[in-house]
Amino acid sequence: MNAPAITMGESPARRALKRFFRHKLAVFGLVVVVAFVLIALLAPFIAPYDPLQTSWTRIRKPPSAEHWFGTDENGRDVLSRVIWGARASLMAGVISVLGALFIGVPLGLLAGLIGGWVDGLISRVADAMLSVPFLILAIALAAFLGPALENAMLAIAITASPVFVRLARGMALDAKSTDWVEAARALGNPPWRIGLFHVLPNIIPPLLVQASLAIAEAIIAEASLSFLGLGQQPPAPSWGSMLNSAQRFLTQAPWLSIMPGLAIFVVVLAFNLVGDGLRDALDPRADRK
């Protein structure tokens, strides 16, 4: 790949932005993400019907000109529910993953860079948490905090964080042994500086990949939580809970599972494309090719 020469004096952020916008797929992904965010925000204006309006005369009707995505088991318009559901699902997906990143990455870096008993403690707790069943944590939190979407996001963030701990730790361990970190250490840089400026940039690619994958898992996890009394409560829609109630009608009314499933797929795809673009844009070596 031949990148145009970069003019000196441009800030790294500008260069990164430029690199990002050169990446067509990434831009496409960004457009889709922005579109979904807009859909979520503007749901009251876009949705053709009230997502909660039931009608006992049009139950589980297949897609038609009137109802593009068909109607659900209570005669509600599936398209409107997908549009409104974007709110809960995007929040559950994005915010909980951000939370997991903020909890997991610093701890993982600490463990990998400092080592010794700090590593021991953090790694043991992460191991222990990975083996705690999600369900137990979810039920306990549901009772403790009460039913709300924010609490579901908290539960997802907590359970997703050990993966980021492990990932950051593994990459930090590897980066620690590289020449440039050793050089930085020899020059007397404190560990936090090494972590922030020398190690973090190098572990961004796998973190981005994991984060954009985790969004999909978080969206689906929100559904099982709403089922347990945490997360979106009926009749308010979320893509995950729509999938959940569609499970009873997989064969009789396939559009009930396909439509929210498709929405999840498109959003996850878009986030991953953006993640790929970011990865390239932030890679300090990308220009030197």
Binding site: A143, Q210, F265
Partner: protein, 315 residues
């Protein structure tokens, strides 16, 4: 090396200790009186409830319950299931082969699909092969397991009649029949993990391919394939190893929906049913067993790091 290994094994105990406290604490936070649910439809009788509480020591303070349990565990007694009265150790031993077989098969499928697809899409970056691999991988992760599972059952079992729709036959009983009962769930689980491995392999390969030494190697005129395999792949494997260990561990205990759909009860289903029935000895025992496996897996991952990155060995 041996000292290091011994030290790592020594760390298993603290993990299990932290975990046991965590589980006990969470159980306290969980609503749902075990006595009420255990009494089933006899819950209307206060005498029955009092009796259950006394028998299961639920009327004792929590620390006393914990000490009693941990004391027994240290002597190798995991207690018995409150619900079906089977020893927890027997339940674990019953389900371990199922779970291990399913996890191993899924993992093999995941590695066989995920790693080559990741390498391919990194090498053929921004070409149709890359796009196709990405689309398939992301489809794999955003498709709910229950959906894929039921679709496979409807197609392969009901339509074609090739595979049994559910149930489990042990490997020792009938090899082919055992593979037949596990291939569909292993595939469903494997595709999800394959997506994760594919995306990470791809990203790591891309990073590795842009590293100095790979470019140096290329400049030195080494054949492209050699470069890819020898240098890039080795570095690309680090996140794959980390994620592989975690995902393998998740396959052991987190395959609940798939186990449920295919009625192949392993650890996942055992834990979920135990949680819903508040069958705490089973929860505690199985979680402890999974934790042990998790810790061993993370040990293996650390060993693999060292094999991949020789410089770590000195550290």
């Amino acid at each position: 090396m041996w000292v290091w290994l011994l030290r790592r094994i020594g760390q298993v105990l603290p993990t299990l200790f932290i975990l046991s406290i965590l589980i006990f604490g969470l159980q306290q936070l969980m609503p749902g009186d075990p006595a009420l649910i255990l009494a089933g439809e006899e819950r209307g009788d206060p005498q029955v409830l009092a009796q259950i509480r006394a028998e299961l020591r639920l009327d004792r303070p929590i620390h006393e319950q914990y000490l009693y349990w941990i004391g027994n565990v240290l002597t190798g007694d995991f207690g018995f299931s409150w619900r079906i009265r089977m020893p927890v150790s027997q339940l674990i031993l019953d389900k371990l082969p199922v779970t291990a077989q399913l996890a191993a098969m899924s993992f093999i499928i995941a590695v066989l699909i995920g790693v080559p697809a990741g390498i391919l899409s990194a090498v053929k970056r921004d070409q149709p092969a890359d796009w196709a691999a990405n689309a398939v991988a992301l489809f794999g992760i955003s498709t709910p397991n229950f959906w894929l599972g039921i679709m496979m059952i409807l197609f392969f079992s009901v339509e074609l009649g090739w595979l049994p729709p559910s149930g489990y036959v042990p490997l020792t009983e009938d090899f082919w029949q055992s593979i037949a009962t596990t291939i569909m769930p292993a595939f469903v689980l494997g595709t999800g993990v394959a997506s994760v491995l594919m995306r990470h392999t791809r990203a790591a390969m891309l990073t590795a391919l842009s590293q100095d030494y790979v470019r140096t190697a290329r400049a030195k005129g080494l054949r492209e394939r050699m470069v890819v395999w020898k240098h890039a792949l080795r570095n690309a494997l680090i996140p794959v190893v980390t994620l592989g260990a975690i995902e393998f561990g998740r396959l052991l205990a987190g395959a609940v929906l798939t186990e449920q759909v295919f009625t192949i009860p392993g650890f996942g289903k055992l834990i979920v049913d135990a949680v819903f029935n508040r069958d705490y000895p089973v929860v505690q025992g199985v979680v402890l067993a999974t934790a042990l496996i998790f810790v061993l897996l993370s040990l293996v991952a650390d060993l693999l790091y060292m094999a991949i990155n020789p410089r770590l060995r000195q550290a």
